[in-house]
Amino acid sequence: MIQHPVRVDLPAHLRTLAKITGEVSLEIKGPITQRTIIDALESRYPALSGTIRDHYTQQRRPFLRFFVCEQDISHESPDALLPEAIARGTEPFLIIGATAGG
């Protein structure tokens, strides 16, 4: 099976922290899940460790959401396989910061 790069779209603050612009493209071997994507992201960009999921609980931070293919999968298991469109890189894995203001 040919592995395609997984595309990840980060919130602006995390792009600044990781010193990147635009989408991130990650080569991931094996199943494509929330966990394997974030593992790969933290491995490539250590500054992001602890910013998307808690260091200790490994739980998603409460003010972040994961969107794929127009679906909110934030409450899915971190080990659930993601849609083929994410694995093939035709759709990005979106990490979204909760809107807040006032």
Partner: protein, 371 residues
């Protein structure tokens, strides 16, 4: 020629404000880390170009930044603060046990001698130390584990370890303060700790003279007299002349003894500064008049310093880490407000001027006096 560099942490980024030794013309550089809460930035006394910064927000948690060039460039370092062993519980607001949970770093205190060693005071209250420039952090767990930890409870702002004082005369001695647990001291480099709250009286707790439970807001020390400590408690300004073994009140003629910030003149160990705040329910100056109070007698006798400060319609607060002093011949005093102003005095408080008027709410101000 000497110069000064202010490290200003705000709710929405950090600013570096500089001037030459005349302290007349100021340059504001920033925001650094725009949009993030910058609880505290502090430079190493051993290498002023080494600066540590605490960066956090509710979305992405805690980041520690380090600069090796005086704040021109930064790099994120370690942000993993793991409590030692099983964290256990402290008291929650309703008195029930609540597990210790890391929330943020309130204060960073670089070692007096080693630029790679730095202490971090965190919420929920604990003290951490890094000896590799912030890459890795280890809890000094003797503090939470000395016995009273399960009885500590948060103040309204959270259960934060906000004050870290390293003794210049005894490298084994550290004094820390926690809201709302009180002050604690180690004399063996952080292995063992004990409460140092004798003499504090807090009417808002069940036992006003309890061993722990006092809402200490800040403590200051003059490096030439490390055994003399000045404390701004929730209410009351206090003094100790035996490294915290006992305290006595020196609020004297202050119009209100509630407040957060307290500091000591760089060259006069008996000259201290506070910013009286009306009350714990009205966090602004009395009568809309922003006044620093100075005592030249180590407390009890206070004079208001008003020249250059707003004396009407001023309803800002000055937070605990938002006052600092430089060490130039005529001591400079600096403080920031929740209204985004940074005020400076180049004559030990006799008169004041604004060096920044419209920053985000100021959380911390530290000044470096550079050769």
């Amino acid at each position: 020629m000497s110069s000064v560099r202010l490290l200003v942490g705000t709710r929405k980024g950090a600013f570096i404000i500089t001037s030459d030794g005349k302290r007349e013309d100021w340059k504001i550089n920033g925001p650094h880390f725009a949009g993030w809460e910058m609880y505290h930035l502090k430079g190493s006394p051993a290498d002023p170009n080494r600066i540590y910064a605490s960066q956090s927000n509710s979305w992405f948690g805690q980041i520690i930044q380090r600069s090796n060039d005086g704040g021109q460039t930064w790099e994120p370092v370690g942000n993993k603060f793991s409590y030692d062993g099983v964290p256990g519980t402290h008291q929650w607001y309703d008195g029930t046990p609540h597990p210790w949970e890391f929330k943020r770093v309130w204060h960073l205190e670089p070692s007096l001698t080693d630029p790679d060693t730095v202490y971090a005071g965190i919420e929920d209250a604990a003290l951490f130390r890094s000896t590799d420039g912030g890459a890795n952090w280890t809890e000094l767990s003797g503090l939470r584990g000395h016995g009273t930890g399960p009885h500590w409870a948060p103040g309204a702002g959270g259960m934060c370890l906000h004050t870290i004082i390293l003794s210049p005369s005894d490298p084994q001695r550290i004094v820390i303060a926690i809201s709302a647990a009180g002050a604690f001291r180690t004399d063996d480099g952080g292995q063992t700790w004990r409460p140092i709250n004798q003499g504090l009286r807090s009417a808002h707790i069940p036992d006003p003279t309890a061993e722990v439970g006092h809402c200490v807001h800040h403590i200051a020390m003059h490096p030439s007299r490390p055994s003399t400590l000045y404390m701004q408690k929730h209410w009351d300004v206090m003094r100790s002349d035996n490294s915290g073994d006992t305290w006595h009140e020196v609020s004297g003629n202050l119009p209100t003894d509630f407040g957060f910030a307290i500091d000591v003149h760089a060259h006069e160990p008996e000259t201290i500064y506070v910013v009286p705040i009306k009350s714990d329910s009205e966090h602004f100056p009395l009568d809309g008049q922003l006044r620093v109070y100075r005592s030249r007698t180590g407390g009890d006798e206070w004079e208001p310093l008003t020249r250059g400060l707003p004396q009407s319609d001023c309803y800002v607060n000055v937070l605990r880490d938002a006052m600092s002093v430089d060490t130039l011949d005529t001591c400079g005093i600096y403080f920031g407000t929740t209204g985004g102003q940074v005020y400076a005095s180049s004559n030990a408080g006799d008169s004041w001027f604004s060096i920044a008027r419209d920053l985000p709410p100021v959380l911390s101000v530290e000044v470096q006096t550079l050769a």
